[in-house]
């Protein structure tokens, strides 16, 4: 009896332990798993970021810009211990969140390809709606992968296909990279030479959903829509195979089950039969099966890739890194964590805001980017010190507008018409020069590792930044010129541009420059420039 009772107690204990564990919010479990990945966690992990560092980071990550001087001042002065959580919730609720996510996902999904068949405004408007309504991520992806461009209401969603000119190999490759975490380009011609998990059959399994489809009436028409034939199989031989054995496959996602087909009787293959100037509609559409097959729960790569990409967006590096090379020889830095994020994201109906909120609430996200004294250089993949990330072209444009007070001046000039949309439209109009210099070429990955000469000259002498500096009612140099003391100037300057207070040393520097410069107004302008051109401004830290 004793033994049984003991066992029962034990079971209750274990049971409650489990349920307690399961009730812990995701952000707590993230921190536990990051800590578990390091033996010397306590010594190596950076302390929590200061309020100022956190404030700047979370603004850039969730709203794509830096806070106004007034917002920064009030957050730093707020004594509420729950203020970080309140700020995260506030940022997620703002229109700027949807606008920022739209710009981020535009780059992720379209990689700065030319807007040929779906105009930019329609596409950005569509993405904005997706994130403003917080539509489940799987539902969003299903919409992208099932849109054929015929219905005007869903034409914007068809951009993923249409502005790749529906080049089947390109679409196959990008579905692999963006939604399955696998860049299977090599697998087009043979099993991947270095990556044993990337099989030629997997590549052609995806291609088989697509290869019967084509652009109608032709690939170059701006009004082209997708159409599909009722026949056409994929076949492949490996360029390494001397015997040239032909392989073929039905539509299939990774290792999953192929979509079996019952041959249709002759003459019944089409709902609308092909003819000159007629868009054919097959009785059985292979492409129609694609969207749900990619997002199905039987395909764990989908949730895993989505979670990994959102993690990368917030933490500056994927748990699987690079995010499109998920395979056994390139394991995740924190396997259990990636599994947890994927499972929980799916269990929460792919609620993007929920996941971003949990990530932002974690101590892991909120750590300082300053390497603790005595700790060695910290590998990025350990997530013990916040990673430094250069601002995207868009973040740089928005943050520069805010820092220089261009945005404040716009708001002032708009007066009672200063709606969020109206102010945003002013900045959007100034995005182009930043994109021209800081964004990647169409179809190429954004590179954050090098700085090119034109980028530096753009910041150093270029007219775009320079024209933001001179005094204009309500902008930063205008406000600074009206301040009496050097100390007040230093404070306003640092808070506005770098979202922090200056150190004593920096206050002294500002005072000495103002004292030596022949012309105070010019000195103020160039002080603003120096802060804008600093690494601290250029990077999200």
């Amino acid at each position: 009896m004793h033994a049984v009772r003991f066992l029962l107690v034990g079971m209750v204990f274990i049971g409650s332990g489990l349920s307690l564990h399961a009730e812990e919010p995701l952000h707590v479990r993230i921190d536990t798993l990051i800590a578990a990945g390091s033996t010397d966690y306590a010594r190596q992990a950076a302390p929590l970021a200061s309020d100022a560092e956190f404030l700047r980071r979370v603004y850039l990550d969730l709203n794509g810009t830096i806070p106004t001087t007034a917002e920064a001042r009030s957050f730093l002065a707020d004594a509420d211990p729950g203020k970080r959580q309140k700020l995260i919730d506030a940022l997620l609720a703002r229109p700027a969140y949807a606008r920022h996510m739209a710009l981020v996902f535009d780059v992720v999904l379209m990689e700065r390809r030319r807007d040929a068949k779906v105009p930019r405004a329609a596409w950005e408007g569509y993405l904005n709606g997706v994130f403003a309504e917080n539509r489940p991520y799987d539902e969003f992806v299903r919409e992208l992968l099932s849109a054929d461009g015929v219905d005007p209401k869903q034409r914007a969603a068809a951009k993923f296909f249409l502005d790749r000119d529906f080049e089947p190999n390109l679409v196959t490759r990008d579905i692999g990279r963006l939604f399955l975490g696998r860049d299977m380009q090599c697998a087009q011609c043979h099993d991947h030479p270095h990556v044993s998990d990337f099989k030629q059959a997997d590549y052609f399994g995806i291609l088989a959903f697509l290869n019967r489809s084509f652009l109608f009436p032709n690939a170059t028409a701006a009004t082209a829509v997708l159409a599909e034939k009722a026949d056409g199989e994929v076949s492949y031989t490996s360029v390494f195979d001397k015997s040239k054995k032909q392989g073929t496959t039905l539509p299939r996602v990774l290792g999953g089950k192929p979509f079996a087909e019952t041959p249709l009787p002759k003459g019944k293959e089409y709902q609308v039969a092909p003819a000159a100037k007629v868009r054919p509609i097959p009785a059985y559409s292979r492409r129609e099966k694609l969207a749900s097959a990619i997002t199905a729960s039987e395909n764990p790569a989908f949730a895993r890739t989505a979670a990994n990409r959102l993690w990368e967006m917030m933490l500056g590096r994927g748990i699987v890194h690079p995010v499109d090379l998920d395979h056994t020889a390139n394991p995740p830095s924190h396997p259990a964590l990636l599994d947890l994020l994927a499972t929980e994201f799916a269990a929460h109906q792919f609620d993007v805001k929920w996941l971003l909120r949990e990530l932002a609430l974690s101590m892991t996200y909120q750590r300082s980017s300053e390497i603790p004294a005595g700790a060695m250089d910290m590998p990025q993949a350990r997530f013990l010190v916040a990673n430094l990330r250069p601002l995207s072209a868009e973040q740089l444009a928005y943050a520069s507008s805010q820092a220089t007070g261009q945005t404040d001046a716009d708001r002032l000039a708009l007066g009672k018409n200063a709606t969020v949309t109206a102010v945003d439209a002013k900045i959007a109009a100034r995005l182009a020069p930043f994109r021209k210099v800081f964004a990647a070429q169409p179809g190429e990955a954004e590179s954050n590792l090098t700085t090119t000469l034109d980028q530096t000259l753009f910041l150093k002498f270029g007219p775009t930044l320079r024209t933001m500096l001179p005094p204009r009612a309500g902008n930063l140099t205008d406000r600074l010129a009206k301040l009496k003391s050097d100390e007040a100037i230093a404070d306003e300057l640092f808070l506005s541009v770098l979202t922090r207070e200056p150190s004593a040393e920096e206050r002294a520097d500002v005072a000495s420059i103002l004292a030596t410069a022949p012309d105070r107004a010019t000195a103020i302008t160039e002080l603003v420039w120096a802060l804008l051109a600093s690494a601290e401004f250029r990077f999200n830290h």
Binding site: L170, G443, K460, S503, A517, A523, S534, F539
Partner: protein
Amino acid sequence: MPQCDYSCGTAEHLVSRRAFLGSAGAAAALGPAGFANAFAARELNKSQKRVLVVFLSGGVSQLETWDPKPGTDTGGPFAAIPTSVPGVHISELLPLTAKQMHRIALVRSLNSVSDDHGRGASIMLTGRVPEAGIAYPHIGAVTAKLLGSDANVLPGNIQVLDRGDSAFGQADATFLGAKYGAVSLGEGKPPADLLRPASLTEESDKLREEFRKKLNDRFARSRRSAATEAYTESFEQAERVFRRSDVFDVTKEDSKVADRYGRHPFGRHMLLARRLLEAGVSYVKVSHSNYDTHHENFDFHIEQLGEFDRPFSVLLDDLAERGMLESTLVIVMSEMGRTPRINERYGRDHWSKAWSVALAGCGIKGGAVVGKTTANGTAIADREVRSGHLFHTYLRAVGLDPTKNFYPNDRPIPIADPKTDAIEEILA
């Protein structure tokens, strides 16, 4: 699989980066070409290879240049003249160039397969016919990457255009990365924003620079990565290019020299090209417009080639005189040739099936002629080559192995089209 994590930010990485940047800085401080004396500069010029492309935009006529067919139904009004190489004749529109023939090799049997301007230019500059799913880098980006030296502060890929503004492009570098993209000097103007704007005095610039550096030093005390390091270093690099902005200014040349090149834009641009090559720029392309002569082909070629002939031959002389010709490959190309058939408007139309390209200098056997067209030039008679063969030849001429690969994203991409190979007959 090989891991290549550039953002590792390890201490070793930073140290080696510093060492390289340090040496680059030291070289730049020593004045023109970064060397203390002319002898060292000459040695550098010998060992460091460069490429100059003279691009005759619009499609130059092979019949009015390198492969004349006088007295035939397609030949047009111009005679063929003897050159410095016995037995080799070129059009009488190129009298000065004819005297340079012992330095020049001709390929008279090129089939570049496209009669379209854009596609033709891409085929000629990438050595490949465009394929879906991959964009190949242009010869300028390829040579900037493979021939460039860390010791040179100037951009490695510069094109002098006869139109437009100065601009930075990346499109021609594709997977090689923006660093190797062409810097365009429209009308020979210096790179955009290289010069300090009038509203910023030298003194203010100095003050603000000092403060910017202080801020960066403070930031780097506790936060450091390869990317932040590269960012702060890029301002030093821009400063070094700024200090050498004279290179872009042809008015620094003696007026007699400028007269020799000719006072027209193309003359100035060829002189600018010489200055850039001298300063160690790996690749310079000078465009000369416009040869798209659907009307009045003959009048236009008199005019255009009259402008081309002198600066081109003067540049070859200048390079030879400076000991630079043996290390500089010079290519005269176009996006296509022109039809042998003369149309009803006395014009010639687009033609890719049988035309010519000229090469000179580094690695080239002067006076060699490869390939032949039929008597009236309407077809290739011997030794057909494609742009891929030329691409192999360019790289071999400057001592590179075109059969090696680039590895963007770990995927091997042959530098030159593996279906073709070099034209050995014209390689020295």
